[in-house]
């Protein structure tokens, strides 16, 4: 029983990071209908920036904030300079540009930060000494670090929800997401809104990446590969146009991953796939969900009129 | 002779009833107008016949075939073709290729034969010639090698008709062909519809809001409201039906 609770808590920690990165994907997808394949690598690049600040004596929390601010500006600039002109050509051009950016940013990180390929040590802003935890009934431990990550993610999520539902900027974002032409005709400066979306998404992704780096205690070129993939899976699971779906999708994926990794200790496939079953199992689940509900659990199904 | 018989067709989306026990028949060579307010279920009926939507209940018989059991891609082969309300062309293809795709159901060459080019040349040439003839028939041959993208709306509407005819249909469904056309273009279109009906021996089901056109070309008119039939008969009879006037035509039309 204690085991189950433990796996659940571990899964929540990991899942909350998937939720965060997935939220970034949803913010962009809602506004433009594009999936940013470079999201993980852009955030990774910014996180290397945070490492650099920290390495030069800036406190870690400030380094992460600085990196997130740069990511905000950089994300907006990339939307303005590359994505918008590409979108004028075709949606497929945007896919190509984001995949090109994926490769370019990953290589750029390797180029600028010595030792990035093998990994640079990265701290955490939460207490993570061996005995920093709560003991819960049944013997499960809940580490302060994991609580911190979860709480951070919940706060950011709550802020995003307030932004979307309660502010004029949020209304503008929803308008652009639903019908960009009509939004323009209602007086929304859509270009600014799109830049804002990209900036927000990249900044959120950077915080997510920094949190992952904190848990792993290091950051390397491969850090975001898996995280991005599971985050996008989470976004798809929840429905790419639903922020709530991203959060639920991310958390449940983290928990599923944790259980699949730990629970069936001696099942037949474990020799072949072992701990890596998690990713595979996660994708099988997503595939099944998508086949039943092509627009995800919370996504809005659009009725096509012909 | 009766060609299409719809019997008690209903369609439900979630809780919404789009069609509620609709029955009607269409005879060989007949042009049948289908009118009614927005949301009356006209396009839904269309999509049921062309197998894009599933009917929840009812029977649909076309020349002895139970149409509701036929998969979507077999419809064309049975002789049912359609045009779309908002144009559904293949924009990167030339007009000629668009019409040749229209004739897809008349061909039999599959993946294996096309990879090995086994007996494909003659079939290609025949299809190409037929498509060329249709382009001539609809006065599009000057643009045969032009991609469909970027051509004027009226031209593309004619292309949709040519493409539909390439399937050798005996029954043509037209979804608001006059929308977006001016009066003189509508008159032209009416003539085209009557001409192709005679030339290609077709029956036509026409969904249209342009009353002058419906009254001009139809042999019979069906009026719908809330998924049900409210009137059926000759154009003039339906035009003077009080229920149709109240729910659809209005007083000052």
């Amino acid at each position: 029983m204690g085991d189950i609770l433990q796996y659940f808590l571990n899964g929540l920690a990991r899942g909350s990071i998937y939720s965060l990165v997935a939220l970034g994907l949803v913010v962009i997808y809602q506004g433009t209908g594009h999936l940013n394949f470079a999201q993980g690598e852009m955030s990774l690049f910014a996180t290397f920036g945070a490492w650099w600040f920290n390495d030069h004596g800036v406190p870690l929390w400030l380094s992460i904030l600085l990196a997130a601010s740069f990511a905000f500006v950089g994300g907006g600039a990339i939307e303005f300079g590359l994505i918008r002109p590409a979108a004028k050509k075709s949606p497929f051009a945007v896919v190509v540009v984001t995949i090109g950016l994926f490769q370019a940013f990953n290589s750029l990180s390797g180029l600028l930060f010595k030792g990035a390929a093998t990994g640079l040590s990265f701290g955490t802003i939460f207490p993570n000494k061996p005995n920093d935890f709560f003991r819960l009934p049944g013997g499960a431990v809940w580490r302060y670090e994991n609580i911190g990550v979860l709480v951070t993610v919940l706060i950011i999520t709550a802020l995003l929800f307030t932004l979307f539902r309660k502010t004029k900027v949020g209304l503008a974002m929803r308008m652009v997401a639903n019908n960009a032409d009509s939004a323009k005709l209602s007086g929304v400066p859509t270009n600014k809104v799109l830049m804002l979306s990209w900036g927000l998404a990249t900044a959120i992704g950077t915080i997510g990446c920094a949190l992952v780096a904190g848990i792993n205690t290091n950051v390397s070129l491969g850090t975001m590969f898996g995280v991005f993939l599971l985050a996008s899976a989470a976004a798809i699971l929840g429905g790419l146009d639903s922020p709530l779906g991203a959060v639920v999708g991310g958390l449940s994926l983290g928990v599923i991953e944790s259980f699949v990794t730990n629970y069936p200790k001696d099942w037949w496939a474990s020799t072949y796939i072992g701990a890596d079953t998690a990713t595979a199992a996660a994708f099988v689940i997503i595939l099944v969900v998508l086949l039943v509900r092509p627009s995800g659990l919370f996504g809005s199904a659009r009725v096509e009129r012909v | 002779m009766t060609m299409l018989e719809a019997n008690d067709i209903s369609v439900k989306f979630g809780g919404i009833v789009a069609l509620d026990g609709l029955s009607f028949t269409i005879d060989d060579g007949q042009i049948c107008g289908l009118i009614g307010p927005n949301g009356a279920g006209k396009t839904t009926m269309f999509n049921v016949i062309s197998r894009i939507y599933e009917a929840s209940s009812g029977q649909l018989t076309f020349r002895g075939h139970n149409l509701l059991k036929v998969p979507a891609h077999r419809i064309a082969k049975l002789g049912v073709a359609r045009t779309f309300q908002n144009l559904a062309l293949f924009p990167t293809m030339t007009l000629l290729e668009n019409v040749m795709v229209g004739g897809h159901s008349t061909g039999t060459i599959g993946f294996a034969r096309s990879i090995f080019r086994f007996g494909t040349a003659r079939a290609e040439q025949t299809l190409r010639d037929e498509a060329g003839d249709l382009l001539v028939a609809l006065d599009l041959d000057k643009l045969a090698f032009h991609p469909a993208a970027g051509l004027p709306f009226g031209t593309l509407k004619r292309l949709e008709i040519a493409r539909a005819l390439a399937a050798h249909p005996t029954f043509l469904l037209m979804d608001e062909p006059a929308s977006g056309l001016t009066h003189s273009e509508v008159d032209e279109l009416s003539e085209t519809i009557k001409r192709i009906r005679d030339e290609f021996k077709l029956a036509v089901l026409l969904v249209e809001h342009h009353m002058a056109m419906v009254m001009n070309v139809s042999d019979k008119v069906i009026a719908m409201e809330f998924g049900r039939k409210i009137a059926e008969g000759s154009p003039s009879a339906v035009q003077n039906d009080q229920r149709v006037i109240d729910s659809y035509l209005g007083t000052s039309s």
């Binding site: 308008m175 939004a183 | 003189s184």
Partner: protein, 238 residues
């Protein structure tokens, strides 16, 4: 009477293709102007050029200010609202949020916006019944009414309507033009309408412009236009 909107030698198009080839037209204060034209003549392009949705060249004066190079959001701020072709409903937003979206440019407090929303619900009771439904679930006619209400939520001086009758049943079209006529007669709203359904549009029009292949080929009052044989045959059908 002063011209509210004065367009001189306007060119516009998509890519290299120039659809509008130097058109001139004007809408006077408190009047309804109608543009008639075939498909591909450039009617929608004209509307999009006025709203700043596409690249254009030439002079557009609105209340004496040049807006020929302004961006769409500036033009809405200046007081021109457009009901686009196909209604442009925010299908995933609720009916009420659609109206709120229309008021995006207003600096007013929420209270005065709420008051206006209530007012539109009185005009269109069917919208009030569906206040919290997603706008995509409305019928075509309801969406067209919503689109007009949404555009007017920005409190414009000039309303542009791009083929409002497209795809609507005759009875709904009549109702729609009644509404537009009332808005003009009672509230003094200036309106520029692009229409295929000329007969109805001419009933409420003060000025008519005929657009053919990117240029204005005829203009005048409805009665003058109705006397022009070619125009009558092509657009009025008698």
């Amino acid at each position: 009477m002063t011209a509210l909107l004065e367009i001189t030698d306007l060119w516009a198009g998509y890519g290299r293709q120039q659809v509008l080839q130097g058109i001139n037209l004007h809408v006077d204060e408190g009047e309804v102007a109608v543009i008639l034209g075939a498909n591909g003549a450039g009617k929608t392009t004209t509307m999009r050029a006025i709203s700043g949705m596409i690249e254009r060249r030439g002079s557009v004066l609105f209340q004496g200010t040049a807006i020929g190079a302004a961006s769409p959001d500036h033009i809405v701020h200046a007081g021109i609202a457009q009901v686009p072709q196909g209604r442009g409903t925010f299908t995933d937003l609720t009916v009420e949020d659609n109206l709120r979206a229309g008021a995006f440019v207003r600096k007013n407090t929420n209270d005065s916006i709420d008051t206006d929303i209530r007012q539109w619900f009185e005009v269109f009771p069917r919208l009030a019944e569906r206040r919290l439904q997603k706008a995509g679930s409305l019928s075509g006619g309801e969406q067209q009414m919503l689109a007009i209400a949404r555009a007017l939520m920005s409190k414009p001086t000039l309303l542009l309507c791009d083929e409002p009758s497209l795809g609507l049943a005759p009875i709904i079209t009549q109702e729609l033009f009644d509404v537009l006529g009332r808005l003009n007669a009672q509230d003094g709203l200036s309106i520029l309408i692009v229409e295929q359904n000329a007969n109805l549009a001419l009933r409420i029009a003060h000025q008519v412009f005929v657009l053919e292949t990117g240029t204005i080929t005829a203009s005048g009052t409805p009665s003058e236009i109705a006397q022009n044989d070619t125009v009558r045959k092509a657009y009025l059908g008698f």
